[in-house]
Structure formats: C-alpha cells, structure tokens
C-alpha cells in the first residue's frame, strides 16, 4: 500500500535519462573515484517536489493549510472534487514558480499546458492530479552546489497539485483522509543525472532549499513535508556504460537521501559483483534500518493515462511578465553574498546574516519575510556598514541568543538600533551604555527612543562635566584600593586595570575607559 501513497511520474525521467546517456557516456562530469567503492561510479539525479508558499491553493480559492490544523478544514468544493466544480489557476503560484525558474537559470516557457495524471487512491479525490506532463512551465537551467561549486543541470520545472493525506489507524483499522493539503500548489523540479555521490546529492538538496527560501517560493521545510525528494541512482564500473537506475521515492531529509543513496550503491555493487543484473525498480527507504526496499518493478509501473486537461487553457507568459518578475524578485544567495562583501563586510559577518535569513519564516505569496539582511540593509543606510553589522551580529543577535530567542523575536526596530548606534558613534553615550540600553530594549519592548531611555536611566556620557565626576570616582577608587594604588606608584602598570574596573563600576559604564586610565595615571604619578 505504501507504494501507492506517493506515486509520481517516472516515465519522464526514464526518457530524460535515456537522452542524456546517448550524447556522452556520463555527460560533462569527469569520472570520480570514491574510497568507499573503488572502481565504481555512481550517477544520481533528483526530482524535488516543493510546496509553493502561497496563501491559496493552485486551482481553488481555498486557503492552504498550516501545520497542526484540524483535518478537513481548508477544503473547497473543488478540492473535494465535487461534481460541477472547475479549476481556476492561482496567478500567485505561477509567479512563485517563475521566480524559482529564474533562480535556477531555467528558461520560462512562453506557453505551457496542464495535463491530468490518473490513478485511483483515496487521497486523490478527483481520480487525477493536474500536472504539466507535456509542456512544463520552464526548461533547462542549472544550480551551482553551495559547498562543492559544481553546476547541476536542471531538466525542467512544472506546476502540479498536491494530494490529500491518508493515514491508517491500525488500532481501529480505519483509513483517514485529510483534504487540507489536497490541491495545494507544488513545483516539481527535475535535475539531470549530474550528481556523482551521496554528498553531492545532499549538497544539491540543501542548496536548492536555500534558493527556494531566498526567493520566497517555498519554505522548503522537509520535516513538515513541504519539500520531498525522489532520487534516481545507478552504478557502473568506471568507464563502462551507465548502469540500470532505481528510483527511491519520498525521502524527507537531505540526510536520509544521502543514506538511501549510499545503501542503494552498496546494494547495486553487491548484485553486480555476484553477476546479477540490477533490475529496474521503484524503491522505498526504511529510515530505521537505513535500507531501501522494493516497492514495484518496472513491469508493475502504473500507466497514468496522461491527458491534456480540457478545462485549463494554455498558460501564456509574455517576456514582459517574466522581466517584471525578474526585476522585482528577491536577491539570490550568491548575489547577496557578493553585495554584502562589497560593502566591506567580512565573509564571516555575511555568512552570519545569511544564516539568520536561511532560518527565517518565508512570507506567503512572495511577500518579504522579516529577514536579517533586509534589516541590515536599512540599518546600514547612512552608517558605516561594518559598525552596523557589528552591532547586529555581536550585540543584537548575541543578546537575543543569550535569551534563547531568534531574530524573528527581535523587538528592536531599525530606527531604534540606528539611533543607538549614532549616539555611541557621536560620543553621547559610551559603548557600554549602548549595550545596556540595547539589553533593556530587548527585555522591555517599547517604542521609546534610546535617547529617552538613556536619560531615564542616567546613562548619558559624563564627558561633558569637565571631568568632575570622573575625578571623584577615581579618588574613591584609589582610596578603596590603597594596595593596588601603591603597586602602581611603584611602577607596576599591569594592576592599573583593577582600578579602571573599579571606576567603571562606580560610573555604571558611563565613563570612557581611556579617559579613566589617563586620569588615574595622572593622579597616581603626580601625588606622593
């Protein structure tokens, strides 16, 4: 039964596989030796199904469901396949898929069409899924792997409906169908068989996930099932023609995909070494045993009876439309990193900001989420980018993480933090006071400006009173620590820091450490 739960088209992949193997032995990639399987070559291609982050479903006006929602609450008559209902394409889904295509350097087709893929299963109420079998939304393209830098060619990107979810209650021996997910928009992203190891496959999945998140087209959340992978694996002796491929269905993390590929490679090698040809089949992955298992052989492959959908007219996208999406879409990770470095940020700072963004909530329908890079961009306007990023990464993020909060919880507005930075830069408050005020703003969110807070808490810098307060605190410190003062007088400057610390404590951070040091030195050297 499990086999039928995630039936996906594989014929297409077979054809692409064949056409690929016909023009060169292994395409553009060099043979790669792997210590784990010397003398063998591994070829992997991946089909990813990513849920489109749209507020509404692909062909019905109903809202997409959120995790944890009660079953069968986000359902329209169309989603339930009521007789008499008709599909209506959601333009937001198209827009997000076009963003994805552009991010993957794929060519958006001026004309794409919708087809029906038929099979009977309780989680498919219409008895067919609307997909783009014959003329997909976008063709070609590539994704450069984040870690390994290798370009992996994209075959095509198509729009399709997600299915409902069926679960089996073993205790009551009942099947349950939840239509909340039925009809949500998916992007199917098919790669060429350009990957050569489990690690490259993992890199591909993670890189793709980051790209989808950065353009806002999917939240790519594998745990919640909004990104799912089918991998195609074949193994051959180095220099020999491609081996027979097996497809492993429905892997729901990059880690499991890598484990499944590794296990599959060893299985193929074992068969081939014992002289048994690998049969072409579709397999599942048992996460507990870290093994793949047979779902069905090539002979049992279902015939999906693809048919052009007679209700949906072709999707026609003009060059102007695609250009508009290109102009207005969010920056891609590569470009963003380059821009941040050009502003003078260190690679580490850029990575920190981008890593924060990678974990943020992706907005619906491509609306920008509350990201750290966007925050930085505003903060750095009219300020030194390096100072701005230091305040963000060291102080703001540091204090948030000390409170076990994320950037999403940040209550400090760009203008508040900006004003705070300006006050420190102009000497109105000390850096230490600035940090105190920031901590206060995080702990007690309000609209108060940092200047108001500084005044309220008497944290304005004391530089303006001609050193009167400073002189008093220094005197008190020397009197409180006579032994230390004596040591300094006798030419041991290293213990001066204890006196400086004492003064800072008395000033509650308002004093400037360098001024304190100078004042103390003057007082101790000039008096007996």
């Amino acid at each position: 039964m499990l086999a039928r739960r995630n039936v996906r088209q594989s014929r297409q992949f077979q054809q692409l596989w064949r056409s690929f193997s016909s023009y060169g032995l292994h395409g553009s990639r060099e043979a790669k030796q792997d210590k784990r399987w010397p003398g063998w070559e591994v070829v992997v291609g991946i089909e990813v199904h990513a849920q489109i982050k749209s507020r509404r479903k692909l062909f019905s006006g109903s809202l997409t469901s959120q995790p944890g929602e009660a079953p069968n609450t986000s359902v329209s008559a169309f989603d339930a396949a009521f007789p008499g209902t008709l599909p209506k394409l959601n333009s937001k889904c198209v827009e997000l898929a076009v963003r994805t295509a552009l991010a993957l350097n794929s060519e958006v087709q001026p004309r794409s069409t919708f087809d029906r893929k038929h099979y009977f299963y309780p989680d498919l109420p219409a008895g067919y899924q609307i997909t783009q079998r014959y003329a997909p939304l976008a063709k070609g393209g590539f994704l450069r792997l984040a870690k390994q830098g290798i370009p992996v060619r994209i075959t095509q990107i198509q729009l399709e409906q997600d299915t409902a979810k069926s679960t089996f209650d073993a205790r009551r021996r009942e099947s349950h169908v939840d239509l909340n997910r039925a009809g949500s928009g998916l992007m199917e992203i098919v790669s060429e068989p350009d990957l050569r190891s489990p690690e490259e496959a993992g890199d591909y999945i993670r890189t793709l996930q980051a790209v989808l998140r950065s353009v806002g087209s999917s939240d790519g959340n594998m745990e919640q099932g909004s990104l799912r992978c089918d991998v195609n694996v074949s193994v051959n002796r180095t220099g020999a023609p491609l081996g027979t491929r097996c497809e492993i269905k429905n892997l729901n993390s990059a880690k499991f995909a890598m484990m499944a590929i590794t296990s599959e490679v060893f299985r193929h090698i074992e068969l081939l070494e014992s002289g048994v040809p690998v049969p072409q089949e579709t397999r599942g992955f048992d996460e507990d045993r870290a093994e793949t298992f047979k779902l069905r052989s090539k002979e049992d492959a279902p015939d999906y009876r693809y048919m052009p959908d007679p209700n949906l007219p072709p999707l026609l996208l003009t060059k102007e439309y695609v250009d508009r999406i290109r102009r207005t879409m969010p920056e891609l990770p590569d470009a963003q990193r380059a821009r941040l470095l050009a502003q003078g940020l260190s690679p580490r700072d850029a990575d920190v900001l981008m890593a924060v963004d990678a974990g943020r909530e992706v907005g619906f329908d491509g609306e920008p989420g509350r990201g750290a890079v966007a925050y930085f961009d505003k903060l750095a306007q009219g300020r030194d980018p390096k100072v701005a990023v230091n305040w963000m990464t060291h102080d703001l993020l540091g204090q948030l993480s000390a409170r076990k909060e994320t950037f999403g919880d940040n209550p400090v507005s760009v203008s508040q933090l900006g004003e705070l930075i300006d006050m420190v830069q102009t000497g109105k408050i000390t850096g230490t006071s600035g940090k105190t005020i920031l901590r206060h703003m995080i702990a007690h969110p309000s609209d108060s400006s940092p200047l108001e807070l500084a005044t309220k808490h008497s944290l304005n810098a004391i530089a303006s009173d001609d050193g009167v307060s400073l002189r008093v605190w220094c005197k008190e410190a020397i009197e409180a620590l006579p032994d230390v003062a004596e040591a300094v007088r006798k030419g041991n400057p290293r213990v001066l820091n204890r006196l400086v610390g004492s003064v800072m404590q008395r000033s509650r951070g308002r004093a400037d450490a360098q001024s304190v040091r100078e004042m103390l030195e003057a007082m101790l050297m000039n008096s007996p």
């Binding site: 069968n72 007789p83 008499g84 038929h118 099947s175 693809y306 007679p310 209700n311």
Partner: protein, 534 residues
C-alpha cells in the same frame, strides 16, 4: 486495506448534503400545472417544492417556468445525472446558469430525465427509466395514452425536450456534448440550441466531456430560446473555458452588422445577399429519405426570400463520429474517475469473503455496480484510448481529426473565427453565412413496448423494428449529423420543420460561425415560420 468511511467523507456527510429529497411528492405546487402529464412522459425526475410565481403573459425570462437537466447542479434538488452513482446527491450550490435564471426571476420547476451522465442518444440509459416522447400523431388523437406508439424522446437531454413538448415548462436547460440537445429537440418537435462553446458557463454542470460539453436551451419557439439565451450567455470567471467579454463582443459585433443588412423583423424578410450552405456530406446512406421533403421545403422558402443556397463540402465529416467518440470517451473516463465510492458515488461493499487486500477490487466493485452499461463501455473505451500504447493512435489522432473538422468549417464560412484567426481577418465574400442540414437521420425511433422499458443497462431500449437496435454501435449513428458542430464548438440550432412520412417531427439544423449565435437564431426563426405544407 479496509476502506471505511474516511474523515473527509464525514466532513461532507450525507446528513448535510446527500439528504433525500422529497421533490417528487404529490404535494408539489407544480403537480396541478402538469396535470399528471409527467406520469405519462417521465420527463421530470425531481419537481420543485417552491410555488409557481404569478406569470403574466410576456416573454421576459423572469416570467418563464424553466426545467433543468439533471446533470446541472441545483442546491434545492438532487443532481443524479440519471446514475445510481449519484442517486440522492444534492449539490451544495447552484450552477451559474441556474443562479442567473433565479436572479432574473424565472421559476425552476424541476429536474429533467437524461441519459446517464449525458451518454446516449435515446434517453434510455437512465435509472429513472426512459423518457416517452409526448408527440401525438394526428391519427392517434383518440387512442388512449397507454395504447399509443411509444417512441424515444431522443437523448441525452430527452427529459428537457419532452417537458417542453408536453407544455410542462416554457423552456428547459439541457447539455449538448455531441447532439444531446439537437437530437431530442428534433425528435420531440421543439427548438433546441447548442450555443457556441464557451458562451454559457459550465460551472456547476457535471462534466461528461469538458472540451465538448455545452449548456443549451430547449423551447417551444426560437423567441423563447433566445430570451433564455440572452439571460445566461455572459462571461463567468469561475469557468476557465468561458469566452471573454472581448471575444464575445468581437464575434457578435460582426454578426450584428450582418443581421442588420437583412430585415429579419419582417414576416417575409428580404434575404438577398444571404448565403446558405448545404454540406454535401450530411446526407449519408442511413438518412431516411422522407426527412428530405421537410428540408427541401425549408430551402425553397429561404430561396424564395432571396437567399442563395449553395452546396458546400466539409470533407473531414466522415471521420467526425469516430473522433468524437474517442475524445468524449477519453474525457469521460477522466471526469468519471471521481466516482469511486470514497468521496463520491454510492459505495458497494465487496461480498463477504472477497479479497480486500487489493484496493483495485474495492473500486471495481463500486464502479461496476453503480455505473450503467453505456457509461462503463465509454469509460473502458476512453481508458484504453489514454493508455500509453494507444494514446498516439487514438487520442492524438482524434485531436488531429478535430483540427481538420474545424478548418473545414472555417473554409466555408463567410465570417472568420475570432478565436483562431488573426484579428485582421476579413470576411470572405464567397463564404456562407450559415449551414443547413437535417438534424437527425430519422424521426424518433420506437421504444420497446411493455412493462420492461429497459433499465437501459443491458438493452438500448429500442424496438425490434428499429434499424438502430441491430447493434450497439448503430445507436452512435444517431449523432452522425450533430457531432461535427460539437467538435468545432460552433452554434447549432435544431428547429422543427414539419413531419416525416410517419407523422413524427422532423428537425432542421442551422449552424453558424463561432459567436454568431444571434444570426443562427434569426435564420432559425425564418425556418420555424416556414408553412408546414408549401
């Protein structure tokens, strides 16, 4: 895997949506209007419980009593599609057409009998039993109803045609996929319009074959049909195949200019300059020769009013019927996949002891039990046509034929097709304004006599004497003259044009270019006013 009532089905539980409707109760306010005629004709399968409104004599749509085919959704009455599969199904919404009629103030009097899911040409494939053609042959006026000759009302919109013919309503909505309005209109002696594809919304119409399905209108006369048509022919954003306002305007502006060049308002309009084509392929060997007399009379009249009548050729016509059955069946196999007993469709459990481990067996049991034999036949045919091995030779081949049929029509019409021609295309002076041909190859075929009116599931209900009874395939011949316009999406109007030698009605069809529905109806009006015996 045991398939028990899943959660989703519970969400749309029978108690809320699938309630049993007492529509056929004898207390219906419409019963006295029908005066028991429905019992004889079996045209209506649900009758409205809403009282009839006051109806002054006037042709406004708000003053009309309208019946609706049982494959069109109404929130107040079931929509069974004459199938066991949807027995008792009450949709949670009104179709756009029904909604438009209600807003205009029309009375929806009931739901009409039809062939199961619109599949059939004789209205004998119905869980509600066949519709009996209400026509009375002049010589049989004195014979009691029960002893009269029983003939088919045609299908699949047989109930709609019969309800109009028996004066149970002013007009009726039907659907026409390959002739399902024009054929019953012809057999029952009423007017039946299949509009251009995309002009009347299909939202809320239970699909048989989406690319061919058209909602249309049956009425006593062309004026009534036009009144209803004008009320429901508007763009519907809920139907992705609904023609845009822009395309409608483009086509109707061209048609209006043409209409204004003739004085159609006159009783004897001057039609000089109007060109009428007679397609030579529309006179197959199976055509009953006595039907030609009626057609000749109509042609003579049009000619006498000044129209030029010219022979034209639509060379791909002989392939139309095969292409139609492949496309319609393929789409049907897809559209009817939802009736699997899980979400929709009456579920029939496996017999005790049956192997429940194969889900296929569970589906097969429900679908074999609750679909009638004609539906099963077409679902199987369509399923085959879509299999990977047959797709090219059947489905794609049929689509190629469909293209040829379209270009055949475009080659003879004066007006360009606004949806497929460049915007600059100009009328071809040598082209024809409309085509004219017999609506059917014969008058209404006889039904089997006796108590067994044929559940239609194992018998097509035709009398032994009928040539159509010889084999199942012959039934499909009924559609030979109507499917080309369906494949091309063109407006086609069947108008009564006298009687055959057997005294039963004969229809003549007028076909126009896409969007020229008004012109088709204007000419239909002239055809309608042709004196019975010239």
């Amino acid at each position: 895997m045991p398939l028990r009532q899943p959660n989703a089905a519970k969400a749309f539980s029978r108690s809320r949506l699938f309630k049993t409707n007492a529509a056929l109760s004898t207390e219906s306010p419409w019963e006295h209007v029908f005066e028991g005629r429905n019992t004889s004709v079996n045209a209506l399968v649900s009758i409205s419980n809403r009282p009839a409104s006051e109806r002054p004599e006037s042709s406004r749509v708000g003053n009309l009593a309208i019946a609706v085919k049982d494959n069109i959704c109404t929130a107040s009455m079931p929509a069974t599609c004459s199938s066991n599969m949807l027995r008792g199904f009450v949709p949670p919404f009104d179709a756009t057409v029904v909604n438009l009629l209600r807003i205009a103030g029309a009375d929806i009097v009931g739901k009409t009998n039809c062939d199961e899911f619109g599949m059939g040409s004789l209205n004998v494939n119905s869980i509600h039993d066949p519709v009996i053609n209400p026509h009375q042959v002049a010589s049989a006026a004195a014979v009691p109803w029960a002893e009269r000759e029983r003939r088919s009302a045609g299908g699949s919109s047989g109930g709609s045609a019969a309800a109009v013919a028996a004066s149970m309503c002013d007009a009726a909505l039907g659907t026409d996929t390959g002739g399902s309005i024009r054929l019953p209109a012809s057999y029952c002696g009423v007017v039946g319009l299949k509009p251009s594809y995309g002009l009347i919304s299909r939202w809320g119409v239970i699909s048989y074959a989406d690319s061919l399905d058209c909602v249309g209108i049956l009425g006593k006369n062309v004026d009534t049909v036009k009144t209803v048509y004008d009320a429901v022919s508007i763009f519907d954003p809920k139907d992705p195949t609904s023609a845009t306002t822009e395309s409608r305007d483009k086509a109707s502006t061209a048609a209006r200019d043409r209409i204004q060049s003739f004085d159609f308002e006159e009783a004897e309009p001057n039609l000089s300059g109007l060109r009428i084509g007679i397609p030579q392929e529309y006179f197959p060997a199976e055509l009953d020769s006595t039907i030609l007399d009626s057609l000749r009379r109509v042609i003579k009249r049009l000619h006498s009013l000044g129209a030029s009548v010219v022979p034209v050729s639509l060379p791909s016509t002989p392939y139309a019927l095969s292409a139609y059955y492949v496309i319609a069946s393929a789409e049907a196999s897809s559209n009817l996949a939802r009736y699997d007993g899980i979400q929709f469709g009456s579920r029939t459990s496996l017999p005790p002891g049956a192997d429940k481990s194969r889900p296929g067996a569970v589906y097969a049991r429900t679908r074999s039990t609750n679909f009638g034999s004609e539906v099963q036949k077409r679902v199987l045919l369509g399923t085959y046509a879509l299999t990977a091995d047959a797709f090219d030779n059947y489905f794609l081949q049929a689509q190629r034929v469909r293209k040829l049929i379209r270009s055949d029509f475009n080659a003879v019409f004066r007006a360009p097709h606004v949806l497929s021609s460049p915007p600059t295309a100009t009328p071809r002076i040598s082209g024809v304004d409309v085509l004219l041909h017999p609506s059917a190859i014969r008058t209404a075929p006889p039904l089997l006599r006796g108590g067994d009116l044929g559940r239609a599931s194992h018998n097509d209900g035709l009398g032994e004497s009928s040539p159509a009874a010889a084999s199942g395939l012959d039934t499909y011949l009924q559609d030979i003259l109507t499917v080309p316009a369906s494949l091309a999406g063109l407006p086609a109007l069947s108008v009564p044009a006298g009687y055959g030698a057997d005294g039963w009605p004969v229809g003549v069809s007028v076909i126009g270019q896409w969007g020229c529905d008004d012109l088709v109806m204007r000419i239909g009006h002239v055809v309608e006013s042709t004196p019975p015996c010239a």
